[in-house]
Amino acid sequence: MAIVQALALVLVNIILFFLFGCAIHIRGISRCPWSRRPSEVADRGMSLSRTVFTGFFFYYLLFSVCCIAVTLKWRPLHVLTKLWIAVVIAVSLIGVIRGYALCKPAARKAASFINSHRPAFIIMTLVFITFAAIVLISYQFTLDASFYVGNVTTSLQTDTLNIYDPFTGDWQDHFEMRYFFATFPMNDAVMCSLFRIHPLLWCKITMSATAMLLTFMVMYMMGRRIFGDDAGKICLFLVFSSVANFFMITIYTTSTFLTTRNYEGKCLLANVVLPGILFVYTELLDDVKDIRAWLTLLLIALGAPVLSSSSNMLVPAMIGVTMIPLAFMRKDIWVIPKSILCMIPGVALTGIYILYVRNIVVFYTYQR
């Protein structure tokens, strides 16, 4: 029964990401609405997968804002849980209201596309289920779980946020700044508290499956960008990438994180965030002034640091290596300031971490 609950919660995660995505959905606009130039509005409609993708970052961004506020006031986990329930209900309602009209044509379009390419989608589904089942059923011993899962269990046990050391259980006099803004494990703790599920089940089944599903979704989105509506090619592309993910294995690769450490924010960084930036880059290749793509990039830059503190250096770097060539290829100087704007969150958090290392900024776990 517990395993069914854990798997059902994958669906809950995806629905939440979708509703959060609906709440902030904007249509694809080629030109800035306030521009004096003749406006070319190219409404590309809603994409279900893209909505989940943006909703995922918006969800974690909002969570992080709530979590940091509660943590800085030393309030307990259950206060954050209550606050988060209120936020989720409010945003989901907006998502339902906004999504109702938008979803119908999008869902109809998606259903028609799937119907007309049924064999390819059956194969894609089977590939994903096989991939996920192999990974979820296997036993993996990973050292980092002692921190990431341990942190969730410790937070639930003590009803606190980041105050006790996950490794030993001892009280800490200050918050470890490396993990302070990466509130991903605290979201796990909130969800465990909300759904009354053991952290090991949530992390090693629900979040593992969610991470794999999101990875497949981003790969599918890339496939759509590259191969258009040719479902056969997208299917073959996913088959190759799935096989490759089982074989590009050393302790460092993105595939290793996807298959063995998929409950960590780093897995999402390596397999969803960085390919996601490449996906946005392909959109900008088609239209360098696409406001929706730029806002998505900004949302990724704001949401990614919540997943892992490594995002603080990798996201600005990835934006740099994709957007600098874009500026030259499309001969558009405005790409540079827009990219710099998207790099600011990561750079700023890196700066705060440096101040912490130099003992200039320290957040204590008690009132001084």
């Binding site: 001892d170 073959l236 770097a317």
Partner: protein, 323 residues
């Protein structure tokens, strides 16, 4: 990367880093080959009438990023320069995540099968595509390192932890509460695997040693002299439980007392069981493969959670999620 140091490796660091990152597989070579193929392969219009793929688009997607990465991330000077500002020894390999290796290889494979292996006539077309797909899969498999090459282990339970972990936790709690009903957070010292796993299952068991200290001990940093000299008493416990060193009994007891460790969990095959019994530890329970031993601490004060009542204005109750 723990095993590489930028200052020591100098400009050779990036090559060693790439070497370790892709150790035992040819995926980086496949990435370069795929990149060249997608960017420069001629469209063979003479053989097939309708080659659909847009080479310029492929080139725009994958090549510019690689070129910028070649100038920065893959540039031998870059890690050395970056390391002079920030210590990136452990994390530099993560920059290699930016290369879309799997995406690029999979796109190249798909283009190869659907555009280049295509032939006139449906039967011939399918056979050629099938052979090409099989060939690419063979390269991906033979050129890589299979995730489960050391054996596929089915998870023993839904929690993905060894079956004895819940039993060990139960034995410790039962014993601790029988001695002092207020002792809700007993502290234990365990062997490597269990030390890393137990708190994922049950965070009400405290540990004497954290992960880094344990890794240092098992990776050879901790020797006999350091274990005794060091004021970090956790090292005495590591010396005995993790490394099997027979340090003087009183030094080990001092380690237990100073860290407040009342329980030691070892496997039945651990040679130090007699030593622990000689130190005054007594068995309080066992599982199929592990023994739980208790040490009577002098002046033991049970661990309590920090009091945030003034801030919280409520009475915290831990949530019980255990089996």
């Amino acid at each position: 990367m723990q095993s590489l140091n930028i200052a020591q490796s100098g400009y050779g660091y990036i090559f060693r880093c790439i070497g370790l990152y892709y150790e035992g597989n040819i995926y980086f070579a496949l990435y370069i080959v795929s990149l060249v193929f997608l960017s420069f392969a001629p469209v063979m219009k003479s053989r097939i009438k309708d080659v659909k793929y847009d080479r310029n688009r492929m080139r725009e997607i994958f090549l510019p990023q690689f070129l910028v990465m070649a100038l920065t991330v893959y540039n031998p000077v870059f890690p050395v320069a970056l390391n002079s500002f920030f210590d990136v020894n452990k994390e530099y390999y993560r920059f290699l995540w930016m290369a879309p290796v799997i995406t690029c290889i999979s796109v190249a494979g798909t283009v190869l099968v659907t555009e280049y292996a295509a032939a006139q006539g449906e039967g011939k077309d399918n056979v050629r595509k099938g052979i090409c797909t099989a060939f690419i899969l063979l390269i991906l498999i033979a050129g890589g390192h299979w995730l489960y090459s050391d054996g596929y282990i089915v998870s023993p339970n839904i929690y993905h932890v060894p079956t004895e972990i819940p039993e060990v936790a139960q034995i410790i709690h039962r014993d601790a509460e029988s001695r002092d009903p207020e002792d809700l957070y007993p502290r234990a010292m365990m062997e490597y695997d269990y030390n890393m796993i137990i708190r994922q299952y049950d965070a009400s068991i405290l540990l004497a040693c954290d992960r880094e200290a344990y890794i240092d001990a098992v990776s050879g940093v901790l020797d006999y002299e350091t274990a005794l000299k060091d004021e970090n008493y956790c090292n005495r416990l590591l010396a005995v439980v993790a490394l099997g060193m027979r340090i003087p009994y009183d030094e080990f007891e001092k380690g237990l007392e100073e860290t407040g460790t009342g329980y030691v969990v070892i496997s039945k095959t651990n040679d130090m069981r007699q030593y622990l019994e000689d130190c005054g530890l007594e068995e309080v329970g066992q599982t199929e493969n592990h023994v739980v031993m208790h040490y009577e601490l002098k002046d033991y004060e049970p661990f309590t959670l920090a009091d945030y009542h003034d801030l919280w204005y409520y009475n915290p109750e831990p949530i019980d999620f255990l089996m």
